[in-house]
Amino acid sequence: MKTVYLDNNATTQVAPEVLEAMLPYFHDLYGNPSSMHSFGGQVARKIREAREQVAALIGATPDEIIFTSCGTESDNAAIRSSLATYPERRHIVTSRVEHPAVKSLCANLAGQGYRITELPVDKNGILDMEQFAGSLTPDTAVVSLMWANNETGVIFPVEKAAELARERGIPFHTDAVQSTGKIPINLQKSAIDMLSFSGHKLHAPKGIGVLYIRKGTRFSPFLIGGHQEKGRRGGTENTPSIVGLGKACELAARDMDAENTTVKRLRDRLESALLTRIPKCRVNGDIQQRLPNTTNISFEFVEGEGILLLMNEYGICASSGSACTSGSLQPSHVLRAMGVPFTMAHGSIRFSLSIYNTEEEIDFVIEKLPPIIERLRSMSPYWTSVAQACVSA
């Protein structure tokens, strides 16, 4: 059975060019870039090149790039660095819809006596900028807001928010794991001080992340060890992955247009076809301020896990914000923060596309999904004559 992979916000396939770039660094060019011989030195050169490729994608300079192991490490390093470098400040501003890498860390810090402001979002997942400005205090050690939401794709105006923070002398961090490579980012022109992203969301392998630290930003390292990354992150470099990430960033810059035209068109085609063919469903999140590859659709009166498992029978991969799939007993915190009613939240499915998806794949999903929803609804005690009457009305 062919796999139709529409779960690219979870992880992506390694691009063939990326894999090819990486392979020599496992077996042939395995030297340690810190070594004092040219066998290792040639690897250091390659890492320098990768750092330049990464910097170019986000409008940074190479020395502002720190390689880490993942997005979560970058988020932890950024937030903890601000707390360490502003020890007199005890307040953190973030949002209710952050990824667990930030959300759980903040909950943990709250237990250590930090005051956390979790900004709410409206029903479309949009941040209230006035409320944001009002939350900033002289005691605020760091602001951490995601650039784009992993579940809905909704984009926060982080550049504007960063300016407001800078005016007040507060370091600003953004988790850009979902937006990097999907929408243009130019840090030179922004007031963002720290930015995290992860390789495996943009066709590099898992296990490699980036932390951008603006020149002049106070920084206290998270992993202390050797002099790697100029002492800002100890640990022998993950050479193959760094090389792969460099290549992936180069490809992402090249494919940025396609992401916002071809991929967006496929996403829109999928979304509008499903909304037309399936009664009682709706899109979660603002449809304008949104990543081009993501759609989060709720199918009322059915539960997400059932939808996923029936799609799985056709090789279709997606995600759900339902309780049953979240591993907890409540639906996703993102949908709850947006006030999505329970009847909708449990039946939410996220489709996230990549440049590797084709029109045939999208048409396949458009053909297979309506009967799946119909089948589950026929089993649902809530899909009563009343609900159906509402549809035909």
């Binding site: 591993g327 007993l329 089993m379």
Partner: protein, 274 residues
């Protein structure tokens, strides 16, 4: 991804007995859309008072649908007496087991069956005196007690897996812990014999003296037994305890728990008005 057995997958992909029985003898609906799963069960009896037909409609995950399907298959041909004896573990076993986190699906099946039988027999749908413990999922003390008893649960996490109670805001975790302690105390083989009032007072005094006072005194506090009325143990706190904001918690979690453990599980501690 959940590790479902082939039997669960099979019952999810090809569920048996979906729908509603026409003119049912018994019908029940449990769960709610807010909780993420709900089950409507209906059955019809034959002339020998055996279940001839059973059908379900379920909103929920694959294991909820599979549990419902399994339940309807299991109870067909049973008398109500036999059906009443079906436990959530029987449902899970029929399916070759469920992941721990999904055991509440089997509990939902058992509850629906019980309520549908009650519905037929005209018994009260609501258990008398049941109290909601978990506000998020609307789970009562009776439901938690039964899950603890029938599945020998020992932790809050297990209770959550079986009943969902405590899976939301977490405010009820202490209450769940108390229920677990209470039920597990009942199960202790040496069930406390019924005490006369004199015996009870004596044993309370002993427990206070040996087990409780030393700990309180360690923190500069003390406790005095004022009276015992039925199962109400009326005490006064002294010394540092009298000025301590946390003395309520100490009384509830330490003194009451100790007395229940050592004297009788029904004791309730009360502080005299200052």
């Amino acid at each position: 991804m959940w590790e479902y057995t082939d039997k669960v997958r099979e019952h999810f992909l090809n569920p048996r007995n979906v729908g509603e029985v026409e003119n049912p003898d018994g019908v029940a609906e449990v769960g709610s859309i807010a909780c993420g799963d709900a089950l409507k069960l209906s059955f019809k009896l034959d002339e020998n008072k055996r279940i001839r037909e059973a059908k379900f409609k379920t909103f929920g995950c694959a294991s909820a649908i599979a549990s419902s399907s399994a339940l309807t298959e299991m109870i067909k041909g049973m008398t109500l007496e036999e059906a009443r004896k079906v436990t959530n573990q029987d449902i899970a076993a029929y399916l070759g087991g469920l992941p721990q986190e999904k055991m509440h699906c089997s509990v939902m099946g058992k509850e629906a069956l019980e309520k549908a039988i009650e519905n037929y027999q005209g018994a009260p749908a609501k258990e008398p005196g049941a109290q909601i413990i978990c506000e998020c999922f609307g789970v009562t003390d009776r439901e938690i007690e039964r899950a603890v008893r029938e599945n020998n649960l020992a932790t809050v996490e297990e209770v959550t897996n079986y009943t969902k109670a405590g899976g939301g805001c977490g405010n009820c975790h202490d209450a769940i812990r108390q229920i677990i302690e209470r039920v597990r105390a009942e199960n202790k083989p040496a069930a406390a014999p019924k005490l006369t009032n004199i015996q009870k007072i004596k044993r309370i005094e002993e427990a206070l003296e040996r087990e409780i006072r030393p700990s309180l005194k360690h923190d500069g506090g003390d406790i005095e037994l004022i009276d015992v009325v039925g199962n109400r143990v009326i005490v006064a706190v002294r010394g540092a305890c009298a000025a301590c904001k946390a003395s309520d918690i100490t009384l509830k979690h330490f003194v009451e728990a100790k007395l229940r453990d050592l004297v009788s599980p029904d004791l309730i501690i009360e502080e005299v008005a200052p």
